[in-house]
């Protein structure tokens, strides 16, 4: 039974947890900073100091990027699962991240651009767009874009691009590219800086409400192609448009942080268990949950092995995997009844 009260309680709890996570993520890290100094550093007009640099220039953009990427991936995952009507879909199913990897690796191996810090995200975004165009064309070829056709096109493109990436890496004369490519694709928030974090943040802030406004037609997708048609949705066109939209969001997120796995698969799933599958309820909870999950995972990634940094994608999968299994089990035990 999902009453308004319960929904309000879920959202309130998530907001509180998110606030706590943000405070923890600013206060904790591989460098220990006394709480008083944390507050001082955040006050306007504070004296420049290494602590201030760490909190204001390292941790704060990192937390913002984590919130944007986490919320974005969770929302995109939820929408994509509805789009292909399969809850095992994730934002990386349809070739976008593979395209991004190919783009990033090409930039890396061809040595394009002055520094990898700028060139790799740019290459990744270009690659993701290329994959998007390819998947779109394949899925539309010879008829309407059905969910099955979209998955088929996405997975095919994904495989081809992954193979291409591997080929480029293997034939690269520079073995260090392996490492850089791998680290890039594992995903992490360590490159968050004020001069770049605004883009993913702005995209998520704009796209979130837009997708929320599309909650009703997204709901219709849940009941299947035929029923959605009967209920007045131009399914093929709507699906194509939403696919392009979520792919663009994914491209921006992947370019900013690499492919952080599992958030987009697990968070929507958990959110559905909490508040049900209708998008008006699901999307806000998924967004909060995604932001929370990634901020916490990133905090773990940069403190567990301090002074070293573990790629956060490794942690999300490592923690997310068992959690996902547990959720599935909990769901089976409760039976299909909600």
């Amino acid at each position: 039974m999902r009453s308004r009260l319960r929904y309000g309680a879920v959202v309130t709890a998530l907001l509180a947890a998110l606030a706590a996570a943000v405070i923890a993520a600013l206060g904790l890290g591989s460098v220990a900073i006394p709480p008083g100094q944390v507050v001082d550093a955040l006050l306007p007009g504070a004296e420049p100091s290494p602590f201030r640099t760490i909190i204001v220039d390292v941790r704060l953009p990192r937390v913002i990027l984590g919130a944007a990427v986490g919320a974005g991936l969770a929302v995109v995952g939820a929408v994509l699962q509805s789009l292909v009507r399969n809850r095992l879909a994730d934002p990386f199913l349809l070739g976008i991240s593979s395209g991004a990897s190919t783009g990033a690796v090409l930039v890396l191996t061809l040595g394009i651009g002055a520094t990898t810090a700028v060139a790799m995200p740019a290459g990744a975004f270009a690659g993701a767009l290329g994959a998007l165009v390819l998947v779109y064309a394949l899925a539309r070829r010879g008829g309407a874009m059905t969910g099955a056709r979209l998955v088929l096109a996405g997975v095919t493109v994904s495989y081809i691009l992954t193979a291409l990436t591997t080929l480029v890496l293997v034939s690269s004369a520079r073995p260090e590219h392996f490492r850089e490519a791998l680290y890039w694709s594992l995903g992490g928030l360590g490159s968050a800086r004020w001069d770049s974090v605004w883009l993913p943040a702005a995209v998520v802030c704009a796209a979130g409400p837009l997708l929320f406004a599309l909650a009703r037609p997204l709901d219709l997708l849940l009941v299947g192609e035929e029923d959605a048609t009967v209920l007045g949705l131009d399914v093929a066109r709507f699906r194509a448009a939403v696919f392009v939209l979520v792919s663009l969001i994914t491209a921006v997120l992947v370019a900013a942080s690499g492919a952080v796995g599992f958030i987009g698969l697990m968070v929507p799933h958990a959110a559905r268990l909490l508040v049900g599958a209708t998008h008006r309820a699901l999307l806000p909870v998924a967004a909060l949950g995604g932001a929370l999950a990634l901020i916490v995972a990133d905090l773990a990634a940069r403190t567990l092995a301090a002074p070293q940094d573990i790629p956060v994608g490794v942690l999300t999968a490592l923690i997310g995997g068992p959690l996902f299994l547990w959720l599935m089990r909990a769901r089976t035990e409760r039976g299909a009844a909600l």
């Binding site: 890290g29 591989s30 290494p50 390292v58 990898t116 392996f178 490492r179 680290y183 070293q308 940094d309």
Partner: protein
Amino acid sequence: MPRRRSTHRALIAAALLLPLAGCGTDADPSGKPAAALPGASFPYTVDNCGVKTTYQRPPERAVTMNQHVTEIMLALGLEKSLVGTAYLDDRVLPRYQKAYDTVPVVAKEYPSREKLLAADPDFVYGGYASAFDAKDGRTRAELKKSGIDTRLNRENCTKGRTTLDDVYREIEETGRTFGVGDRAEKWIAKARTRVAETERELKGRAPRSVFVYDSGDKTAFTVGGRGIGNELITRAGGRNVFADVDKAFGDATWEQVVARDPEVVVILDYGATSVEQKKRRLLNDPVLRDVPAIKNKRFAVLPLSEMVVGVRAPDAVAKLAPQLAQ
């Protein structure tokens, strides 16, 4: 480079097939070298990375894999004992170029097992663990079955920190294996003198704190305390700020780089990304703007090909010291 290539490959393997990720390191239980007699002294028994071999006579048909062990052989004047070399990182030292050119190159990178056997070696000398890669059927045990003795650079199996003593011992053991222990002693004595000179020059100066930048945007891929890199920096009058990372290489968070306040950045020079590009990346990072090394643009360069347990190590110390002291 190959040392790290093996790491890269392992990382890829870890990403693709997790179960393969564990890689054992050979232990070297014998603490001290066998009886020290210069020149030829056989039979000679040596325990190298857990493989005990007794040589009745010097190998005559050796193949080297990886640049720095090729250079060790050439430094010992053993080009006549070589029937093949493989895998240069960049180029062999100019002073060995002539000798190097007299030896056939078996493969540009690692040779396949077949290609290796076709050279008909009685001894294979590998620089990195990846030289004896199991997937290509080139493990030391398999080569032994084909009657081929092997040596692996001891950098791959040191316990604790790798130091210049490992360099000396590598050269000594290789020399003795080939019956030229006297040449090895001579080389080691010269190297010790060279390092001692640097040490004398640095006397009384406080060590400069050093952050080594290898690569990375999301993290700072840097040199930890275990590898030969840390030793070279220490000997050259530096103090590696990430010496507490108990690995040869590791990923540090950028906030740690800020917190550790290094006075000098040592840029590792290799590969497609130029030193200039790396400098620019660091100088453009707003996070680092108050770090003394960045604020004062204090950069030093260490070619990765010198950061080896090989004959370049003493030169590397000598070249790095003035850069750190500037």
